[in-house]
Symmetry: C2
């Protein structure tokens, strides 16, 4: 999917070409294991994932924690850094060969001044991000690691099937050994 | 502050009266301890808090968890329910006498179809919510309860000064006894 197809699917607005968008789009390809945005860097772009997988992570006392895995047909970025213009506390790393469409944020901010479509898109994407993060926060506050792991099977089979176990542990916020115990205790 | 003043402060757009807004606003007052939106109810409104305090909470296995405290000059609501039209898993309760401005969501959704201002406002408010929830999620994944309690002093002195300790414990996701131990171990 492309940004134009995303707008058609989710906002029900048909556009024929990039020229009809209120901002410019460039394309970029990353190999697996490349850093798109590093911790400490100011995020300058919003990205749309056409293919591949991206990990959003942060370090705390030398420990890696994974905030999210991004799969194709989704927008992503070091979003707090983008919105606040502060150095990013998260890092974006590709976990596979990844193709993205890139929107320069200054260009998007200009479009936000006058373009209905740019604001509809920005609002829609942020609403979806909010729903995801809010759901995750509720889970972290109310559920055990075992419950959260079991629910991943239902909610995010994409994560279970392609992401290594040690990274799933970092996403659940538990030690890999604890996840191994949980996995062994589950009989399917 | 009112919604019109919020728009002037944050979007730098001056409006003279409610009639210039792309949606209708009504006003409502709640006594302390009233439920604005109950668990299981579908959220129909977005609220702007003119004065008072609102708690956003959820139940899990009979235990209350507090997701957020809303203070004046902020938008709030059972936002996931509003966006998804599913029954709310959160409850909104006033902790003091509370005055709100109310936007009917169907009216807002109509405005989203054609109004630049409605979309700019919706995008801005959702971006701010996202920044808050994302920061909270990072804290829950990386920091101990003691660190999170200490940081509340810096980041949210409003919470520390007016919210009872047992509710702060539910916000931090820990038992009140654990919070008491943490408080006793801190020498200021």
């Amino acid at each position: 999917m492309t940004i134009i197809q995303f707008i058609h699917t989710h906002l029900n607005i048909g556009l024929n070409s990039h020229a009809e968008l209120p901002f410019k789009i460039t394309e970029q390809t990353f190999a697996a294991g490349q850093i798109i945005t590093a911790c400490g860097q100011r995020e300058k772009n919003a990205y749309f994932l056409k293919s591949g997988i991206v990990q959003i992570s942060m370090l705390y006392n030398g420990d890696e924690r994974i905030l999210d895995f991004i799969f194709e047909n989704n927008f992503f970025g070091a979003y707090t850094s983008l919105l606040t213009n502060l150095p990013s506390d998260t890092q974006l790393t590709t976990l596979a060969k990844t193709e993205v469409e890139v929107i320069d944020y200054r260009d998007l901010q200009n479009a936000y001044q006058h373009s209905l479509l740019a604001n509809q898109l920005g609002r829609y994407v942020t609403e979806r991000l909010f729903i995801n993060y809010s759901s995750r926060q509720k889970d972290l506050l109310t559920k055990t690691a075992e419950q959260r792991y079991l629910e991943l099977f239902e909610k995010r089979p994409d994560i279970i099937s392609v992401i290594p176990v040690n990274k799933i542990a970092k996403y659940l916020g538990i030690h890999p050994e604890s996840l191994s115990r949980i996995r062994k205790s589950i009989i399917f």
